[in-house]
C-alpha cells in the first residue's frame, strides 16, 4: 500500500511539473517613441491679496502665471516635453492644485500635470508645486520654496529642473547662466564685452566696458567663478572673475599666443596653451601657488585642452599628424592617443560633464560642423552644419551644446552677424539663443542651486 502511495505521489509531482510548463507569456519591449511627453502646466494659483502685493512689488500682473510660463518655456525648449495649450484645460488652477480630476487631464492627452500655489508670507515669495502622474492618478513630487520676491524667475527655473529630473532621470540645466562675449559694431572694428545671462536669455548683464579685447570666458565647474583671456597693452593676460562679488584678479601674463584657459574639474587649476620659444604646448597653472607645469612637449602646435570630469584625462587638438586632429592623454601628459580619424580638420574638443562624449568643431570641404564622438573616437555624429560655427560648450547635464554661428558678409561688406545657438544630442532640437547684441564664445555654468 505504501508503494502505491509513493508511486501515486511521484506521478502527481510529474503531472504538476508538466502542467507548470504552460508558463507565463513574456513579451520584450525594446523600443519606444522619442516624441516629447505631453505635459500640462497649470498656472500657479494665487490669492487676491498676494496677487496685489506682488503686482506692486514686481510690476507683474499675475506672478503665478508668469512662473508657470517660465516652466512651460523651459520644458518646451528642452525638446523632451510638449506643454499643452492652456485653453484646453478644464480644471481651475486652485482646484487642480488641491486634487486634480485626472479624467479631465487624461481627456486632453496630458501624461503629467504641474500645479502650484503662490503666497506672500511676510513679504517673501512662497511657491509650492506638485507634479502629478495623470495616467497613474498619483502625485509624483511636491516641493515648496520661500525666497525674496525678486528671485521669482529662478524659482521657475528650479521647478523646471525638478520636473525634468523626475521625469527623465537626469538632472536639469535650467537654473544656470551663460557667459559669452557680446559683440557690437562692424566686423573690422568689433567692440567685445564680457556678458552674462540666464540660460533662457533673460537678465543680461555686461561685465566689462569693451575697452579691451576679451576672449574665451570659461566657467569654473564648481563655483560661479570665470576665467577669461584679455589683451592688455597687446599682451595676453589671463583673468579670474568672481561673478557673485565682481572681484577680478590677474592670474598671469603669458608670452606669445595664449589660448583658451579652462578650469580643471576641481577648479583648482587652469589648463591652457601658450607659445614658448615659438612652440605652442599645453600647460597647467595651480591657482594656489601659481606654479606652471608643462604637460605636452612636442614640436607641433597643441591647443584647446579640456579635462575629463574625473580629472584623469585631457583631450586637446594637435597637428602632430600633419593636420589638426583630436588627441586624448593622461592628465600628466603621458599616453597620448589620436582619437579622430575622419575626413577634415577637428578642433575645440570639450569633454562632456557626463564623461561619455567629446564635442568638437569639424571643418570639412569648407563647411563647419558641430559634432560629438565617444572618448575613444568611435561613434562620431555630426549634429549641425553651417558656413561658420565653433566653440561648443556643454550644459551641466551633458545633453545640450551651446555654440556660436557667424553669417557671411555680402558684397558690400554688410550682413555679418554672430549669434549663439543651442542643439541637443539628438541633433533635431536646434534653437537660437536670445541675446541683446551679437555673441560668441559661450560657456555654460553649473547648476546654481546645486
Amino acid at each position: 500500500m505504501k508503494n502505491i502511495k509513493f508511486i501515486l505521489s511521484t506521478l502527481l509531482i510529474i503531472l504538476l511539473t508538466t502542467v507548470k510548463s504552460f508558463s507565463l507569456i513574456e513579451v520584450d519591449i525594446t523600443r519606444g517613441n522619442l516624441n516629447p511627453l505631453p505635459v500640462a502646466v497649470s498656472p500657479l494659483s494665487i490669492d487676491v491679496k498676494s496677487k496685489k502685493s506682488f503686482e506692486n512689488l514686481l510690476k507683474k500682473k499675475d506672478i503665478g502665471e508668469e512662473i508657470s510660463l517660465i516652466v512651460e518655456n523651459n520644458l518646451r525648449t528642452s525638446g523632451l516635453f510638449n506643454p499643452l495649450n492652456k485653453d484646453a484645460f478644464l480644471q481651475a488652477p486652485d482646484i487642480a492644485n488641491l486634487k486634480p480630476r485626472f479624467e479631465d487631464w487624461n481627456l486632453i492627452k496630458a501624461q503629467a500635470l504641474i500645479t502650484g500655489k503662490v503666497t506672500n508670507i511676510e513679504d517673501k515669495l512662497r511657491v509650492e508645486f506638485r507634479l502629478w502622474d495623470v495616467l497613474a492618478g498619483k502625485e509624483m513630487m511636491a516641493l515648496a520654496f520661500t525666497t525674496v520676491p525678486t528671485n521669482w524667475r529662478r524659482v521657475g527655473h528650479i521647478i523646471s529642473d525638478k520636473v525634468y529630473e523626475r521625469l527623465t532621470g537626469e538632472k536639469g540645466y535650467f537654473d544656470t547662466r551663460i557667459i559669452y562675449v557680446a559683440e557690437e559694431g562692424p566686423k573690422t572694428n568689433r567692440i567685445k564685452k564680457l556678458a552674462i545671462m540666464d540660460q533662457d536669455g533673460e537678465n543680461n548683464k555686461f561685465l566689462t566696458l569693451g575697452n579691451e579685447l576679451v576672449l574665451t570666458p570659461r566657467f569654473n565647474p564648481t563655483s560661479q567663478m570665470v576665467t577669461y583671456l584679455s589683451y592688455f597693452r597687446n599682451l595676453p593676460r589671463v583673468y579670474l572673475l568672481d561673478i557673485e562679488t565682481g572681484m577680478q584678479e590677474v592670474v598671469g601674463d603669458f608670452p606669445g599666443m595664449t589660448f583658451a584657459p579652462r578650469f580643471s574639474p576641481d577648479g583648482k587649476k587652469i589648463i591652457m596653451s601658450f607659445a614658448k620659444d615659438g612652440n605652442s604646448d599645453i600647460y597647467t597653472m595651480d591657482l594656489e601657488n601659481r606654479i606652471v607645469e608643462k604637460i605636452t612637449n612636442h614640436p607641433s602646435i597643441d591647443t584647446s585642452p579640456s579635462y575629463s570630469p574625473d580629472g584623469k584625462f585631457i583631450c586637446f587638438n594637435s597637428d602632430r599628424s600633419g593636420y589638426q586632429q583630436i588627441y586624448v592623454m593622461n592628465s600628466d601628459g603621458t599616453n597620448v592617443k589620436r582619437i579622430s580619424f575622419g575626413n577634415g580638420i577637428y578642433g575645440t574638443p570639450v569633454w562632456s560633464p557626463r564623461g561619455d562624449l567629446i564635442a568638437f568643431t569639424k571643418l570639412h570641404k569648407g563647411q563647419f560642423y558641430i559634432g560629438v564622438m565617444r572618448t575613444d573616437g568611435t561613434g562620431e555624429r555630426l549634429l549641425t552644419e553651417n558656413f561658420y560655427q565653433e566653440a561648443p560648450s556643454w550644459s551641466p547635464n551633458g545633453r545640450v551644446l551651446i555654440f556660436y554661428r557667424e553669417t557671411k558678409t555680402d558684397d558690400k561688406g554688410e550682413g555679418f552677424s554672430a549669434k549663439l545657438w543651442s542643439i541637443d544630442l539628438t541633433g533635431y532640437n536646434e534653437r537660437l539663443v536670445k541675446t541683446p547684441t551679437d555673441g560668441s564664445d559661450p560657456s555654460w555654468s553649473s547648476l546654481l542651486s546645486d
Binding site: I4, I7, L8, L11, I14, L15, T18, V19, S21, F22, S23, L24, I25, E26, V27, D28, I29, T30, R31, G32, N33, L34, N35, L37, L80, Q111, D133, L135, A136, M140, E165, R166, L167, T168, G169, E170, Y369, R381, L382, L383, T384, E385, N386, N397, R399, G427, Y428
Partner: protein
C-alpha cells in the same frame, strides 16, 4: 494479482492524462488549423521587424545581376552592344544626383545618412564577382548570426512556436502598439541594467485589470532613481495603450502577460 491490475491501470491512466496535458493538439480545440498558420507566416515576413537576413538578400540580388552581366559578356560582340550597357551607369548617376541634393541640405541627420552611403559604396567596391560562391556562403553565416542575435535579444522567441505563447504576428501587433505608447525617458544611462518587468492580468477585451512591477522593491531603494523613472514610464505606456491589442481568441493563453521593458538599445542610439 489485483494489486498489479490496479497499479497497471493507474499507470496507464496517468500516461493518458500526461499525454492529454502535454500534447496541445489534444488539449486545445482544433482552432489553429494549419492553413491559418501558413497565412500568418507570410504576414510575418512582410510585417515583422525581425531582420530577414537583408544583407544576404542584397548579396543574392547582386549576384543575380552579375550573373546576367556575365551571360551577356559571353554573348557575341554585336549582342554585347545591344545589351544596353547604359543601364549599368544609370544607378551611379542617380546616386550622384541624390548626393548633390543632400550636400545642399543642412539637416544633420541627412549628413549621417550621407556618411553611411559613402561606407556602402566602399563595400560595393570590395565586392569581387569572381568570388560569388564564397559570398553566398558568408551570407548564410550572416543569416545564422542574425538569428542568433535576435534570439539573444528576445528571450521569448522560441516560445512563439509553442502553442502556449503568442504567434509572431500576434506578438508583433502587441509590440507595435506598446512601442507607440512608451515615451522613453531619454536621460537614463544606457550602460546600466535597467530592465523593468511588469506582470499584467488582462480582461478578455485587452484592458488591464491588474499590473504589477516584479522588482517593485528596487524602486524605493536608494540610488535606484533611474529604475523608478523607467518603471513609471513603462506603467504609463501600459495604461496609455489599453485595451491592449491581444488576439481575439485563446483568452486562457494570454490572460496573464509579462512585459519586459528594456530601453538600452534606444538609449545607446
Amino acid at each position: 494479482m489485483n494489486r498489479s491490475i490496479i497499479l497497471s491501470s493507474v499507470f496507464h491512466l496517468f500516461i493518458i492524462i500526461l499525454t492529454a496535458m502535454s500534447l496541445p493538439f489534444l488539449s486545445k480545440k482544433a482552432v489553429d488549423l494549419p492553413p491559418i498558420v501558413s497565412v500568418e507566416l507570410i504576414q510575418i515576413t512582410e510585417k515583422t521587424n525581425i531582420p530577414f537576413a537583408p544583407k544576404a538578400k542584397k548579396i543574392i540580388e547582386k549576384v543575380k545581376e552579375k550573373e546576367k552581366k556575365l551571360v551577356s559578356e559571353q554573348a557575341p560582340p554585336k549582342k554585347v552592344k545591344k545589351k544596353k550597357p547604359d543601364a549599368v551607369p544609370m544607378p551611379e548617376d542617380n546616386i550622384k544626383k541624390v548626393e548633390k541634393v543632400k550636400d545642399d541640405t543642412q539637416n544633420p541627420e541627412k549628413v549621417d545618412n550621407e556618411i553611411k552611403q559613402v561606407s556602402e559604396f566602399e563595400k560595393e567596391e570590395l565586392f569581387d564577382p569572381n568570388n560569388i560562391a564564397a559570398l553566398i556562403d558568408k551570407s548564410k553565416e550572416e543569416t545564422a548570426l542574425e538569428v542568433n542575435k535576435t534570439d539573444q535579444v528576445t528571450q521569448d522567441q522560441t516560445k512563439n512556436f509553442d502553442n502556449t505563447g503568442l504567434t509572431l504576428s500576434e506578438e508583433d501587433a502587441l509590440k507595435a502598439q506598446i512601442f507607440g505608447c512608451w515615451s522613453i525617458p531619454l536621460g537614463l544611462p544606457y550602460n546600466e541594467n535597467l530592465l523593468v518587468r511588469i506582470k499584467l492580468e488582462l480582461k478578455p477585451d485587452g484592458s488591464v485589470s491588474k499590473s504589477e512591477i516584479l522588482d517593485h522593491a528596487r524602486m524605493n531603494r536608494p540610488g535606484q532613481g533611474f529604475y523608478k523613472v523607467l518603471a513609471e514610464s513603462a506603467l504609463r505606456a501600459v495604461k496609455l495603450c489599453q485595451p491592449l491589442r491581444v488576439p481575439t481568441t485563446g483568452y486562457e493563453r494570454w490572460k496573464e502577460l509579462q512585459l519586459n521593458f528594456d530601453a538600452r538599445e534606444m538609449l545607446e542610439g
